[in-house]
Amino acid sequence: MTSTTTETSTGTGAGETLVGPAGITVSSTEFLATVAARELAGKRRVFAGVGLPTLAVDLAMRTVEPDIQLVYESGVCGAHPEGMAEGIADSVLVSGAEAVVNLQALFGYVLQGGHVDVGFLGAAQVDRWGSLNTSVIGDWQRPTVRLPGSGGAADIMPNARECITVLRRHDPGAFPAELDFCTSPSPVRARDLDPRAVPPGHGVSTVITPLAVLRRPDRFGELELAQVHPGVTVDQVRAATGWDLAVADEVSVTPWPREEDVRLLREEIDTVRLYLR
């Protein structure tokens, strides 16, 4: 362990401050955005959402992968925003973009036609197969919490080559044995219902949390613990997960964000502190 963290192991997320080597102070959001950005190395067409994914794709384009083509569910393909987008339909994504297409072209041809490499999806709950809940917590008809629902998520999950999910918390509530509702299914669920109708996508390949990075290398396999953040142990991650989480043969330690990553996020990407806070 080369560094100390403040309460990373509690699994509570946003707003927390982590102190890295050489005394670099990093917020939980900055940490997650940096980890997510590194995952985009070698990826081309990325279906980006708002919030953390906005930070991650921008940082990736300035560091590991300048050739990312940004696709938004509003129909913008090849966005070149001159400022940070506040939403997937922001005018700043349209001005100067390579294409703005209608929604049949976007959902039908670009997405269902198989042109998206990575979809970025948020979730309130993730299960062991990488199925996601973004609909309700509690009873379907009278939920404790009404979440945003699918939006494009249930369309992205089956059709993007792979999906990356970032969660701001890691505890058994967010990683339950059973989802309260499955909005966007893993191909495992689709196969169980009808082996002939398995969608082309891998489903969730990577889950990034405040504690760790989970990966699902096999399209029909389970998530496994592949990477722990500095100061976090394998046992802590397993205890914070609502099922018996598999552990990869080799578990690596997530590298700290570089000083340059943090500088880019603060001074060039989110200068108004909209998402960083």
Partner: protein, 307 residues
Amino acid sequence: MSEVKVTGLAEAIAEHVEDGMTVALEGFGHLIPFAAAHEIIRQGRRDLTLCRMTPDLVADQMIAAGCVRKLVASFFASGSAGSLHELRRRIERADPEPLEVEEYSHYGMYGRYQAAAAGLPFFPLKSYAGSDLPALNPQIRKVADPYGGPDVHVVPALAPDVTVVHAQRADRFGNVQVWGIVGAIQEVAYAARKVIVTVEEVVDDEVVRSDPNRTLVPAHAVDAVVHCPGGAHPSYVQGHYDRDNAFYREWTAISKDPQLLRSWLQEWVHELPDREAYLERLGEERWQRNAVGERLSGQVDYGRRSA
């Protein structure tokens, strides 16, 4: 000679929108027809089935004002404002009344408009295999592929009684031109029985005909054209004004408190006669905060036969 369809907003809503109707207000994060929604609220329409892919603040306002019995949608939050609290109160606690919800994914919702626009009974898509959405919403079904492939999920056509959309410009006949994010505007217009379009500008016929590819909805699909500058605020109109993101963030606090929400509706909708008065109350300074600079498109040459 085509029919001139320019009319006032109050007249258009009074003529076409009736209690109990299925009404679609589209605009995918762009060109959201707020002025028309406020007029529907002012005229006290009730028991509407409101269709919108992304309900947004506009649905929260219409629901709070008591116009909506049922919401048909594919996203139940606002991208940057977060939760829509009136909507959540209705769904989570039936407070003050329950709200019926019919839920799809974006592509499903959009496919419903496409099917209706083309006069087809349903729309097939690759989404939903393994999802709980079909169990929640029995309108999402599966059909056998008559060509021997696996069963495919389908969603039913959605034909609104009335569609309301906002656009940059139209001519007096209702040829509607849009640029930027087009969302479901064309599909939902063709899907509906009646179509009301509010626009930033009513332009000369020649302006439209100088660039026919820019026409998203031709006049034959439009019933009323309303000149309504600023009609999409607090959402935006590409090239005219930007989204009032500050207002979107303020909405969280307003919608969280039912009392505050009621007084907001009183002050910004019921007490005002029209959008002009709304913009006046908003004030020049606030308006200027969302002003946009110029970024002109290039020109294309459509050519003209010379012989």
